[in-house]
């Protein structure tokens, strides 16, 4: 932007102002249209389906609430360039653009009964805090308070028996549904009386409520102008991820404390503190109330399921994928599309038939001892079946990526197909094997539904089922202990990822660039 033209010599940079206003108004128009479509078209459409939902209303409300700030940000960003040449000019331009936009939006809100002009539950009077209680300053004539004969000068002390100040009173009013009775306890002329006021839906005409809004708008614009742009992605990312981080933070804190409020650890008396290791007692063979199985037995079960699942999935999918990728045989295409369909098949629908299969297998001598009902490997086998379609497709993709020439070369060098598969191809798809292996291991380690269905007796449960049993016992639930068991279950996962990450990087850096 050049600042040599005459207009730019003034205190306001007019071209920038126009761009800023244009940007802001564009956002207003787009968002208004979106809200209109949501409220006016989608909502009736959804309603006609007789489905109860609040998503469209919520979305349009969010649009309306977020709209002004997006508009200010857009108009503010138009001024960013001007900061480099003249800061006062930039500030003035931005302030004027914001005020104009704010006025337009406020008028729009007023006309459409939105934002601060939206009708809310009200008892139509104004109050102030005093030492004795909440003093009624004014009453709208013919309004809800007036009908209930609330007089100016009354001092409200409580709603029913709950003492109130101005803020809690306003909140209670706002939260109560329309036409619900509020029994106010108040002092009139030194006497305590009770008055029941029925809330009504009323639009606030309190224009002073606009002022904080304007301050917010100016603040947002100012931040937009001076915001260092390179941080934006991190802030957005952090905002989205913060619930996750907080969740894990809670998990860790909870395992080491007696109890928690939010993520703040508390001791028995409710003071901050209360560090304890007693939640981890289960590691040292001390029984958890109501359960009589060692955590190590449970862990071993989990491990057997996860490891056997990983091994079987890796062997079977890589071999099947090799055949599908490299060989032509009748039914190859049909098999491929069939596995794809199977991948989308919900496991739950097969729970009962599989139960019969496992139960019958369990009665078969020898085999039944290994893969039957209520055996870790049998349970793993069921989950293997559900993971194989994905595994086969994933591995096939990796095999497809290896040039034919390498395989031909190995065959000419004298290798059989088995050796080609084992010595030449498998080492080249190690990253894929590792990914699928981790996937299968975690699938087995965290499995709940299948182990829960096909294992009975305390000795056969795996960690997730064990966790569930901790909760479903009738005894009082010790959430901090459950957090500790949960964290214990997470440990191998962490280790696996730390190890695998390095391994994956190694392979990608040096392994498979040999061919062009």
């Amino acid at each position: 932007m050049t600042v040599t033209d005459n207009e730019s010599q003034g205190i306001i940079h007019v071209p920038t102002l126009i761009i800023a206003l244009k940007n802001g108004l564009l956002v207003v128009v787009i968002f208004s249209l979106l809200a209109l479509i949501l409220q006016g078209i989608l909502k009736p459409l959804v309603a006609s389906l007789q489905v109860v939902e609040t998503v469209t209303t919520t979305l349009s409300l969010i649009l309306i609430l977020v709209l002004p700030y997006i508009a200010y940000i857009m108009s503010g960003s138009a001024v960013r360039e001007l900061v480099k040449t003249s800061i006062p000019q930039a500030l003035l331009t931005a302030v004027i653009a914001t005020i104009v936009l704010f006025s337009i939006i406020s008028v729009g809100h007023y006309l459409l009964n939105l934002g601060i002009f939206a009708p809310t539950s009200s008892i139509q009077m104004t109050v102030v805090d005093t030492d004795e209680g909440v003093l009624v300053e004014s009453v709208v004539e013919g309004g809800a308070a007036d009908i209930a004969e609330v007089k100016v000068g009354d001092v409200i002390t409580a709603i029913r028996r709950d003492p109130v100040d101005r803020a809690t009173l306003m909140a209670r009013v706002a939260q109560s549904e329309v036409d619900s009775p509020l029994r106010l306890r108040m002092i009139r002329d030194g006497e305590e009386i009770q008055v029941t006021v029925r809330t009504v839906l009323a639009t606030s005409s309190d224009a002073s409520a606009l002022f904080p809004g304007l301050i917010m708008a100016l603040g947002v614009t100012l931040i937009t102008i001076i915001w260092p742009g390179q941080f934006t992605p991190y802030v957005i990312l952090l905002a989205i991820l913060s619930p996750l981080f907080l969740g894990y933070l809670w998990l860790i804190i909870a395992t080491f404390s007696t109890r928690t409020q939010g993520i703040i650890p508390l001791d028995g008396e409710g003071n901050i503190g209360g560090f304890t290791l007693s939640n981890w007692d289960f590691l040292f063979g001390k029984d958890i109330v109501g359960l009589n199985v060692s955590i190590w037995q449970v862990t071993l079960n989990s491990l057997i399921i996860a490891v056997s699942m990983m091994l079987i999935v890796l062997v079977v999918s890589s071999m099947a994928a090799y055949a599908l990728s490299r060989m032509h045989f009748p039914g190859r295409k049909a098999f491929l599309s069939f596995t794809l369909v199977l991948h989308g098949f919900p496991a739950v629908t097969l729970l009962i038939p599989i139960f019969f299969v496992l139960a019958n297998l369990g009665r078969t001598p020898v085999i039944g001892e290994i893969v039957g009902f209520n055996k870790p490997i049998g349970i793993a086998l069921v989950m293997v079946a559900f993971q194989l379609p994905l595994g086969v497709w994933l591995m096939k993709g990796f095999f497809d990526g290896i040039p034919w020439d390498i395989e031909r070369s190995a065959m000419i060098d004298g290798a059989s197909r088995w050796r080609v598969y084992w010595e030449i191809l498998l080492p080249q798809i190690r990253p894929g094997l590792l990914a699928l292996g981790i996937f299968a291991f975690l699938g087995g380690w965290n499995a709940f539904l299948i182990p829960q269905t096909y294992s009975t007796g305390a000795g056969m449960v795996n960690l997730p089922v064990f966790l569930n049993q901790l909760i479903s016992e009738t005894a009082p639930v010790n959430w901090n202990q459950i957090a500790a068991v949960g964290l214990f279950q997470l440990v191998p996962v962490f280790i696996l990822f730390i190890f695998a990450q390095e391994y994956l990087l190694n392979i990608y850096a040096g392994g498979t660039k040999g061919f062009s």
């Binding site: 040039p403 031909r408 070369s409 065959m411 000419i412 004298g414 080249q428 660039k513």
Partner: protein
């Protein structure tokens, strides 16, 4: 090892890969399969390697029919265009892999790998992985791996295509030299006719799955038997002009519009019997721009090649390529006179595409 191919055919469903090929390759010979892409040369090579099974026909290595033998039973070495090195193995292991598969002793493997690596000039790279090598080095490793098991036959599938022009020139000489030294029967697939011409003892020109010609480079160049061979072999390519060849009183003349060219008896006698459906072929180096030329033409574009200029001239709108001295300094739009060396002219039947001179 002598290689005999008889009536070899390969079909992929309805698609013909190669049809009715018959070739005799002598022991120790270097043969190139030359043709445009999709002509069936690589298909034929892969049948020789045992990767593809022939639909019909026979392949003999020496006296043995190898049709049903797997690649490992054929004792061949092959070099691929993509080098096809095993990326997860070091150079040493790559070269030693064929020997390992033969269950050879570690000590012997070590000796042979080192010997081959030193021959190929990659003795100092044995601990590296293919990904850490340049294209030329990878090429040498691939060649070393093919040679280490002392194969009876060496197969090359466009091995130089992925190298830069300069390296290609060097490797060309090296492969030819090496093949000569070792005396291993070699079959070399390429679409680059310069490679084929410079390296091969004999060239099999292929097109559309069929063998067009199988002869020495000189014979293919000087005595092409078909229009396709004449057009494919030689760079810049041969010029083709539709002419009518007539004889009167023992004089033979090729005419096209205003152009009239005298022919000797050896060249003119046979084409004269074919009447007016004759295509005359003449190589760019057999046309000169000379003041005493007989054919008027206009210079269309001049491409300097360094040693000479490639000049595109137009005779009645028909494009003719010729090579001219750089000193002559022809310019676009110049009117020039052309002189044809008619003793090098080729004549083909325009319908069958067969040569009228070398039937």
């Amino acid at each position: 090892m002598q290689v005999t191919i008889e009536n070899l055919t390969k079909k992929f469903g309805d698609v013909i890969g190669a049809e009715n090929l018959s070739l005799d390759i002598k022991d120790g010979e270097f043969v190139a399969f030359l043709g445009p892409s999709g002509c069936g040369k690589t298909t034929t090579l892969l049948m020789l390697a045992g990767i593809y099974k022939p639909t019909s026909g026979t392949i003999r290595f020496g006296d043995t029919v190898v049709n049903r033998l797997s690649p490992r039973e054929r004792n061949i070495g092959m070099v691929f265009q993509s080098y096809a090195l095993y990326p997860h193995m070091t150079v040493y292991k790559n070269i030693g892999y064929p020997l390992k598969l033969k269950n050879m002793q570690k000590k012997e493997i070590d000796e042979r790998v080192n010997a081959v690596a030193n021959t190929m000039g990659i003795g100092d790279l044995l601990d590296r992985r293919p990904g850490q090598l340049s294209g030329g080095q990878q090429q040498r490793v691939a060649l070393g791996r093919a040679l280490v098991k002392e194969p009876d036959i060496l197969l090359f599938d466009e091995p130089l295509s992925n190298l830069d022009a300069r390296l290609r020139l060097t490797m060309r000489g090296e492969i030819k030299h090496l093949q000569h030294d070792l005396g291993i029967t070699s079959i070399y697939v390429t679409h680059d006719q310069i490679e084929a011409m410079t390296m091969a003892d004999r060239i099999a020109v292929m097109s559309g799955g069929h063998l067009q010609a199988f002869d020495t480079p000189e014979a293919l160049y000087d005595r092409p038997k078909t229009l396709f061979v004449a057009g494919f072999v030689g760079n810049p390519p041969m010029n083709f002009i539709n002419v009518e060849v007539s004889a009167s009183n023992g004089h033979f003349v090729a005419t096209n519009g205003n152009m009239s060219l005298d022919l000797s008896k050896e060249r003119g006698e046979k084409p004269a019997t074919a009447g007016n459906s004759v295509v005359m072929g003449i190589r760019p180096e057999d046309i000169q721009i000379a003041p005493d030329g007989t054919v008027p033409a206009e210079v269309f574009v001049v491409e300097p090649l360094g040693r000479e200029n490639l000049v595109d001239v137009r005779i009645d709108g028909e494009s003719i390529l010729l090579l001219a001295d750089t000193k002559a300094d022809h310019k676009r739009g110049d009117s020039v006179k052309l002189k044809f060396n008619m003793n090098k002219a080729q004549f083909f039947d325009s319908k069958t595409g067969k040569s009228l001179l070398w039937a």
